[in-house]
């Protein structure tokens, strides 16, 4: 008999050390604790009395999140400030694995969060990293400076061309970059439509691709069957799925 607290996955409280408004909709939360995690893994954030929702790690040491305000829970998160606490379970799921010497990362919306974590790892290993940051409009481009600081080549694209580039959707921009940069591997996180288009591109260009997908999460631990994508569980088999290309 051991004590009853062995190996549990109970929520762990952490305190917010810093909140930074990144875009009109997205805030960065830097916490006072660390986790051992891979880029692409996610955590479940619990706000007692409110709900528990999945978020990708933007960094694990210290735990850092980029949260877009889209509904009740994320609104509550945006009301938190330095010194407030939140609770987390995880990390869960399969993260990105690094492959290739020259990586192209495509970030749609808050999809930039896990890709920033990935970029840090990849740059730390001296790999060449190009990033496409995509958004509706210029002011929503997320973590552009972060990627630059990490030593990535940053490209942007917006639906409305407000970034002084021709208005394009992310897949179109990615296809241009595939041709011009000829990367060895594609990594992406963003809306489902974008990911589906990129999956098609990867097959077409015979490029290995790792896509981080979303699904409705309850347990986060592969039990409840809420997060299916075909016969795969996004929480356990994903959220990162690899296409051989």
């Amino acid at each position: 008999m051991r004590d009853g607290t062995w190996n549990p996955e109970l929520p762990l409280p952490m305190t917010i050390r810093e909140v930074r408004q990144e875009t009109p909709a997205v805030r960065r939360f830097v916490l006072d604790g660390s986790l051992t995690a891979e880029p692409g893994q996610f955590i479940m954030v619990w706000l007692p009395g409110i709900d528990e929702k999945p978020f990708s790690l933007m960094n694990a040491q210290p735990v850092t999140l980029a949260v877009a305000e889209v509904g009740r829970f994320t609104r509550a998160m945006h009301q938190l400030s330095q010194g407030d606490r939140l609770w987390l379970r995880g990390p869960f799921g399969q993260g990105f694995t690094l492959e290739g010497r020259h990586l192209l990362l495509a970030a749609g919306g808050y999809g930039a969060a896990p890709l920033a974590f990935l970029a840090r790892r990849a740059r730390g290993e001296g790999r060449r990293v190009a990033v496409l940051v995509a958004a509706r409009s210029r002011q929503h481009l997320l973590l552009v400076d972060e990627f630059r600081t990490l030593g990535c080549e940053v490209y942007t694209c917006t639906d409305d061309g407000s970034d002084s580039q021709p208005p394009r959707l992310a897949p179109q921009a990615v296809e241009e970059l595939l041709t011009s940069l000829r990367p060895d591997a594609l990594y992406a996180c963003g809306p489902a439509g974008m990911l589906d288009a990129l999956e098609a591109l990867a097959r077409q260009y015979h490029l290995p691709a790792q896509l981080s997908r979303e699904a409705y999460m309850r347990c986060g631990i592969g039990v409840c069957g809420s997060c299916t994508c075909g016969d795969q569980l996004v929480c356990r088999d994903g959220p990162v799925f690899r296409i051989a290309g």
């Binding site: 996955e9 929520p11 479940m44 016969d231």
Partner: protein
């Protein structure tokens, strides 16, 4: 050494042949046809779908499932797409499972006797290989009132109503949260159940976060499953078998071949596996099946029939 035949893992569950005794328990992974097919391909002997009810239900808000160490605690709250969509999912599941020879068990629930009859009637059109009545979910009490499984008369009434419209073998899933589970078992068997599934989750229980003072589950309380409940499940299977001798899916805390053998020695015909999928995902079925096969082979048993109910035959001699 003598030539040794590989032991026969097949079991006959109320007339339905299972390639092995391991049954995916309801509420675990049983949400889509693709996922249930994957579980079957990974070595399950039968799969039970997530319990479906008359109407779509969103279930409780998160947190709904927690790993508290010795087990899980959950209050998913019977999230399900409702019988209309469930029937579609079950049809597709049946289509995918049939070539694999893995039977499908349709789990149903409702908040009334009529509702149970109606949902049972609807799923029988699929048809599944067996129907399981979930009269024992402890996580929806606030909404549904006391589960039917807590009272012999209520349990019998639901069973009778479902039996009347059900042309498949009928299992009733029992709750451990009663003083006398055998009385409930007797009532539902008298009312027409062909077999029993025991047990549903224990409790409910509660886990409190000591930093915030909040019960962690949004529903505050939830049903306990996993290793923590295994001795309770084994004892209940033992008692049911002693008094009823009907086929039982022994369920609760099984995580390895040893636990399967224990359940079968207690009297189980088949063995449900739920929480254990967090250890390795669907592949847990082939791992456990291999452990069961190894046990039988190394002990010289040709089939599970040789050990079923063995614990009942072990009787102390008076000094």
């Amino acid at each position: 050494m003598a030539e040794q035949l590989s032991p026969d893992l097949r079991v006959n569950l109320c007339g339905v042949l299972l390639p092995n005794p391991l049954v995916l328990a309801s509420g675990i992974l049983g949400t889509t046809a693709e996922l249930m097919e994957r579980v079957a391909k990974n070595g399950a002997g039968a799969v039970t779908c997530k319990s479906c009810g008359p109407e779509p239900r969103a279930g409780h808000p998160n947190p709904t499932v927690l790993d508290w160490g010795p087990g899980l605690i959950n209050a998913v709250g019977l999230a399900n797409p409702g019988i209309d969509e469930a029937v579609e999912i079950l049809r597709e599941t049946r289509r995918r499972l049939q070539p694999l020879g893995v039977p499908l068990i349709a789990s149903v629930f409702a908040d009334s006797v009529k509702g149970f009859a109606e949902v049972t009637r609807r799923v029988c059109a699929v048809p599944p290989d067996l129907v399981e009545l979930n009269i024992s979910c402890p996580n929806v009490e606030a909404e549904f009132g006391r589960p039917f499984s807590l009272d012999p008369d209520a349990a019998a009434e639901v069973t009778r109503a479902a039996r009347a419209v059900c042309d498949r073998p009928l299992l009733v899933k029992l709750s451990p949260n009663v003083t006398d589970v055998v009385a409930i078992g007797k009532a539902v068997v008298a009312a027409g159940a062909d077999g029993l599934t025991a047990i549903n989750t224990l409790g409910p229980g509660m886990v409190i976060d000591i930093e915030s003072g909040w019960p962690i589950l949004a529903n505050r309380v939830g049903g306990v499953s996993g290793p923590a409940i295994r001795p309770i499940a084994v004892r209940i299977v033992y008692d049911l078998w002693a008094h009823l001798r009907v086929p039982i899916i022994g369920t609760g805390g099984v995580t390895c071949g040893r636990d399967v053998i224990e359940m079968i020695m207690a009297g189980a015909t088949a063995v449900g596996i739920g929480s254990a999928v967090i250890q390795g995902g669907p592949a847990v079925f082939s791992r456990i099946a291999a452990e069961v096969r190894d046990y039988l082979a190394s002990h010289g048993y040709a089939s599970l029939n040789e050990i079923r109910g063995l614990a009942h035959a072990r009787r102390h001699m008076e000094p």
